[in-house]
Symmetry: C2
Subunit: 216 residues, 2 copies
């Protein structure tokens, strides 16, 4: 049974794709064109009632929310491919902490930056300069805390690459297309961390197979 | 060793407290007065660099982010007290899905409602009528999807009470103080679900021990 992943062009589904490659799990993808509004089609809403990507189908099992899906596969295939959860229950706790930091602190400002800088034209709404300015400022504050953390620890949750690091990759990659990669580069330890995690073969493979829509 | 929980008066730490009561884990609490800005004190920032509550200390182990903490204890004491993660890896996946829905879809609008309706005066910023209106509208849309889900399933992740339900309790409880509990009551299955989960002895105990600051 091959895992079916919906919406591979977009950043949240790419979290799932990196995870599946790291875990050596076979998958196929189903395009969902958000620019055309396909995520609001009645058939799609049966799978994902909130109308966002991704969703996966694995035999009879359907699951949505990218960070739930990556936890599921990281746990289900714990000993296959890269271990992404840590060795002990305490390490997993720390992975969970940084996954939540990504979701609660890092994602909101970078999502707003990407939306307003890269997607507003395509999606037909005006970019808000104030949102862009505040989001960049807030992202910078979060990255200052990351800099401190990563000066003491190679990866966010410790000395091992985990779901917490993985979860940052797709949206951080957009900083390049926005001309804002200096947010990463001007922080020594964040920069080394980014060079490391963005060089992983899993991410290179995902990016090659499914370029972001903005770059097409 | 007793678990030390910081900030028990507030809603996010209450997620942790409900979980500890459900899991029959001994704890003590350390007040953090957010109204007075104690969450930005240098000593507190050493524990939680983002300056929010909660954080826990459990011997040498420190952990923050409420949803990470509840996952940690639910897993560490899987067979003690209420099982909050489901019996199979697929059930846990579905618990994770609805925990993420709570964090990504439910929490942002209800948090903004609580902040602007109940806390703006105390925290010294003007309540924004547009934020209040949009948050209520967005929360209503999310609850429409919950209504559909809960018409087919007693709890969010299935026929068992889990972290996903638990995580909704503290902020939803504020709807009463805001005069907005009709958002729950006007939806038949959401209303029955809320009556069920808010009647749990764990929540009653937490509310009795640590009343919300707004009600003091």
């Amino acid at each position: 049974m091959v895992v079916k992943v919906y919406g591979p062009a977009f950043a949240c589904p790419k979290r799932v794709l990196i995870c599946l490659v790291e875990k050596e799990i076979e998958f196929e993808t189903v395009p969902v064109d958000i620019i055309k509004g396909e995520h609001k089609d009645p058939e799609y809403l049966k799978l994902q009632p909130f109308g966002v990507v991704p969703v996966i189908q694995d035999g009879d099992y359907t699951l949505y929310e990218s960070r739930a899906i990556i936890r599921y596969y990281a746990e289900k295939y714990k000993s296959q491919g890269t271990d992404l959860l840590g060795k002990t229950i305490e390490e997993r706790g720390t992975v969970e902490q940084w996954l939540e930091v990504e979701a609660q602190n890092y994602h909101p400002p970078i999502y707003n930056l990407v939306l307003h800088v890269l997607f507003s034209d395509k999606m037909g709404f005006p970019a808000d300069a104030k949102v862009i300015e505040e989001s960049e400022k807030n992202l910078g504050k979060v990255l200052d805390i990351y800099e401190e953390r990563l000066s003491k620890s190679k990866y966010l949750a410790g000395d091992f690459f985990s779901l917490a690091d993985l979860s940052h990759i797709p949206f951080t990659n957009y900083l390049g297309a926005m001309g804002k990669m200096y947010l990463i580069k001007e922080r020594e330890h964040v920069s080394a961390w980014w060079d490391d995690i963005s060089s992983r073969p899993s991410w290179k493979k995902v990016l090659e197979l499914y370029p972001a829509p903005i770059l097409e």
